[in-house]
Symmetry: D2
Subunit: 418 residues, 4 copies
């Protein structure tokens, strides 16, 4: 009988099937508290209020992205590209850890919990911490993550306009939300990858798959990620945290877990975060549950704005949303709302929490950024927006904005639909 080489490392993923961990170090990382924490942070935050299947976590996404990266590396190797075991292992380490810097509710609370600090930088800080614990095990992974390695394509697999992160989240979010038309053929795209001059390229016959990926991403943006009801709920959650922080900073004692307490009672900037062990330690303790649990407590507190916001969000009496095409079209309506609230006795300061105008935007493909290159049979490369007639228009490459107004509905019934 065959001897088992090592630990049994197969994980069931409903989206991609069985996921293996090809290197021991990946198994060790998977057990690390920083990545176990991602089992408690949902990938799409409040999206489950619209798409109730969207309860999947950043943990399973990270596993999936790692799995697709492993397949891509195998593909590139089979095509004759020289990839050492060290490079492969480091790339997989980096993608497995790429999201550890996310906080509770990910993007929705980014820059509110820790001010002016993107999750990518937090990821890097945390990777460095792990690296120290493991005596430099992540040296190469960090180099690749920071795009300081000379073979640029490893970084591109982790972070670019057609990286394994995006491939996984599109398939996964489409799967869990039940929006089947967002599904893409990741397997086909991966089969089409190759390397030229140390950069990723897509073989010419894969152009329809690449187009399809960009269009599916566009659909998912408007249909799921920027769904107006989710936008409204996320706005409410942001307001809740901002209000709680405002109250705490002004001395009011609010219920919160130790970790959350730390971030609402102090104004933690990127500067502080980078230099404070305490901030990092507290942050690594935070997850969705702290916010969800606090939200319920705060719904009973005596600040009428905070309790109103919390109660409304918990019981899904969401702010009503209007969407529009131009920036100022809600001006008149806003004035009316403010008057109405004023008449109800709210102060100017309070009213700021009861409505919000904003912009959501999405860009299908940004050719000014890291380019997607198509390689012809003769070895020449063309940028995808030149090679594709579909993408060869500023529609797809320019940012598209929608404007929205969301406002508390004190009397009105909230009616919801996808």
């Amino acid at each position: 009988m065959g001897r088992k080489l090592n630990k049994n490392k197969i994980i069931n993923d409903p989206v991609l099937g069985f996921i293996s961990l090809p290197y021991e170090s990946l198994y060790d990382l998977l057990q690390h508290p920083y990545i176990q924490r991602l089992t408690r942070i949902k990938q799409l935050g409040l999206s489950l209020l619209v798409y109730p299947g969207n309860t999947h976590t950043r943990f399973i996404h990270s596993l999936g992205a790692m799995h697709l990266t492993a397949e891509a590396l195998r593909q590139l190797k089979d095509k004759g590209n020289d990839i050492t075991d060290e490079e492969a292992e480091a790339t997989l380490q980096a993608i497995l850890l790429h999201d550890i810097g996310h906080g509770p509710f990910s993007h929705a609370l980014e820059n509110i919990i820790v001010e002016k600090l993107q999750h990518e930088e937090i990821t890097l800080i945390m990777m460095n911490k792990i690296n120290k614990e493991y005596g430099g095990m992540l040296d190469l992974a960090i180099k690749i993550f920071k795009n300081e390695y000379h073979k640029k394509y490893f970084h591109q697999l982790i972070s670019s306009q057609l990286d394994m992160d995006r491939l996984d989240y599109l398939i996964r979010d489409s799967f869990f939300s039940g929006v089947r038309e967002g599904s893409i053929g990741a397997e086909r795209i991966i089969k089409m990858l190759n390397v030229k001059d140390d950069k990723l390229v897509i073989e010419a016959k894969g152009i329809y798959s690449a187009e399809n990926f960009l269009i599916a991403r566009r659909l998912m943006y408007w249909q799921v990620y920027l769904h107006k009801t989710t936008v409204s709920a996320e706005h409410m959650l942001k307001s809740i945290l901002i209000r709680a922080k405002e109250l705490s900073l002004s001395g009011k004692k609010l219920y919160a877990s130790t970790a959350l307490q730390y971030f609402i009672s102090n104004r933690i900037s990127g500067e502080t975060f980078r230099n404070s062990q305490e901030a990092l330690e507290k942050f690594s303790f935070l997850d969705d549950s702290d916010v969800i649990s606090a939200r319920k407590e705060w719904s009973q507190c005596d600040d009428k704005i905070l309790s109103y916001l919390c109660k409304s969000l918990i019981n899904r009496r969401l702010f009503k949303v209007k969407t529009g095409e131009t920036e100022n079209e809600f001006d008149a309506f806003c004035d009316e709302i403010k008057k109405k609230y004023k008449a109800l006795g709210y102060s100017d300061d309070e009213i700021e929490y009861l409505y919000s105008c904003g912009e959501v935007k999405s860009r299908t493909y940004d050719p000014s950024n890291d380019k997607i290159q198509i390689i012809e049979k003769d070895g020449n490369t063309t940028e995808i927006s030149d090679a594709s007639d579909l993408l060869n228009t500023n529609t797809v490459t320019r940012k598209t904005s929608k404007y929205y107004l969301c406002y508390a509905q004190v009397f009105e019934e909230n009616i919801e639909a996808n």
Copy 2:
């Protein structure tokens, strides 16, 4: 253009497709805090430690079970059974609400948070509460739920050995865990349903589907629900709550949300619960987040048992598990363990938290209970275990037990596999 009859009530379910709410009252119920709370209670608790896709909630399960029930009712109607709109609406109300009595982590903490009270009874208490709020809107639903309505098949759709609850959870848990072989043909079973003498029957040609359902359920029990790693994690969670409660009752002040605090600082029995508005109110505030958040705080507390258990569970250093076929096979090993712990300085009382022997059991089909009846073309009915050669054995109808021992691994590495 056609006028829309009413509110747009379509919900995306990744498992069953679009779910509609055929009656206005269902939409109202969906907005009720009691059912919104189920968006914060996972269907399978800690199973995500083994199957990371298992993050789906009791909320989406309730929607799914309602959807299958609606299809079953339509099927029965198409076959000429007389079903009034009132009966259909009440049945859908009842199934939509059938799980509202679940607490955080569902079965794992049942009888620990509220002592000696099954979730079904809590459901009923909560249904009565809602019914009062809505002026008797649920009168018939409650009658059906309690099996006091003369047409027994409505109750059977909600609760029997082949009910829509089980159909939904099998499909759903199979879907999210990625254990594809647990999938069943719910649509086919539903097409085979009919009614005889006010009871559900399955048409004879549906017997293979019914068998398949029972065997798939058996597989899911051993492969997913009673997976030894999940059993171990659930045991740890139970111990955590029991320890926290022990400490709280003895006067120690532990961090907890107001609602959770109530249940660990008081011994709430079924008796109390039935008579106390406060208990119900607190309970309806509890969800998974309170436990998850508290677990983290307690991992930092000064009770070494509680902090050890919490730390271990959070960072997935789970108790090691041995499984066996007979009740006493671990006796010698247990003695050894206890000695070892004692040598490490733990007291007898503490040691009780560091290991556990137990039994898990599952029964594929219980003919002594509510029977599954097969109807032949001639109108005669036979009990399924008589009609099916596969099920006609005590293997399937007797309870199967496995015995397990799980114990803290102070030094050993935890190795995991599905």
Copy 3:
């Protein structure tokens, strides 16, 4: 027990699930030889040489299109549009029969077997025949099929740029070919349908689904329908039939089934077909098997061109294909090929069978044709290419062409890839 209302009419479709036949007349039609014949005509002809799963038939596609139409009608009715049972039944009859005029290998041999006659007209001739047999049962169905009924939307469901025919074939062809990224959310599109001024409209929030449908169709065209290997194989099959007909008309006796014999020994024009019972009768006997079986016999015949073409196609030694962007880019290469063949001893007439230049084209959306209308909440309608920024470009609305050259490879190995 409920009495079964009528015949059990449930059919398993791997793509759409269970399909029911809501009217008795549909069941009768399903048994008619004209539609049973579609069980022997593949939907995608020779595509299986590239995508081996593509063996599905026009029969199952017709069932699927009928099923989607039934769902669309239910949806429109639920939105308050007045649809009588007669109208619904007729629309379902028409869609069920919409493809009966297809001959063996569908589009590939269209205009070769019967000259200058589109399959739509043959469908109509056959529908009239059935209608006579059934004493006028299809009167309304035919009116709708011919777009002579005042409520235009019934016809639009059967034939327009967003009809149930296209919805079904896209989902189905994507499913069987395994090109997952061609999948669309038919259910979502159907939910978004409504009627204004007797015409189909799509509700504004369905615009992303409609875009996705058009883009997925574009992908399927280039990835599957017009795959260069399929184009090559279809060209060979055409040449085989043309050669066989040429030989037969010049007096050579070739093996063929009686029905196929009729069409290769006579030049049957649309004119003849419309007036000849014999032509119709022979045609209704033809299916893929006649051509596949004859092809094998002809591979042994003494005409070297015909036998060469047949042998090559049967054993998958397909013509080599070059694709290009401009019409004349193969001119020089063609001259070379011709010289080469000439040197091998082929006559000018024979050489015509050994290579071919041609054009394949696809248009994503044609606004000059039957328009897709988007309806805003205020009831105003806009044409989709005005409403959608993605489609608002001539890329999507103009025809895209590719040019190809395929030629016999006498010595070269044929290498294949998707």
Copy 4:
């Protein structure tokens, strides 16, 4: 850029995803006329009359079985079993070719076209033929196919009670028929495979998957393969061939392709087949199309039995079926039928074609045959029916029979359901 190692060998399979051909020789075999012929032989013959999606071919099944075998070999290698490239290649060759000996409509016409010769033996004859053409390339493959190689597990992967052939056809037939509950977790079973003493074993924790496989197979037998309508249609097809052969042998000239003509005008025994190049050559030209095309011609011939049978089958007016539990229960009914036919003027000889009694049987698992062995962690093996409580009964291991009577319905309408 990485150089492509060799031919692009990726095939889209809707069931298993992308299929690669890991060895050049497999690509060559795929182009061989003997295996290309399988693109024209359906896996499930007439099953499409009940499950219209069942049009998949033996070709795609062979590819799928090869793919699963490749995965199993990789798995076994990863577990430390010593497998040379030669062994792997030969095993894949053997599984790819395992079905080339099937004739038109596979099992239905086995022993009728060639008398007393199983398709396995024909496969072997054809493999030897290819082997000669390729100068011994298949020497090892043939040894493995014949179970003459000392490492028995390679043969077991191709042919045993849990081989890759069965795994593929179960998944595939379930997929195309739309009977989802027949789906199994092939990936999980494959992960559980190992080798002990040169034989395949399943790791103990895979026992539920193995049970599930056996039970799913049982379901597919009764729900799909032995569906009474398919049984009836296959009986008709057999009768057609037997009648045509009877007529041809007695000197009547019937239309048929050259290859089919050979087999109906001569009584080709196994003996003849083994020794005649002509028989093999003709056989390798036969596929479904010859029978389908002939069937139509014969429906117009002047033998009233043959034309009646053909007409009925083509237009789906199938023999009516009764099923029963005991062998003789139809005796009285048979007598009645015979009298009725006699009264209608049929001769005794003719009447034999108008009805049939028979038995269909299926055995879930046969422990007397090649055993499925379960291996415990301690390395001990147990036969599965001892290890599994579910299978530990004679229900599963004994043959189950059903008896049927099918008979021509001259006046009655045929009503169909799954």
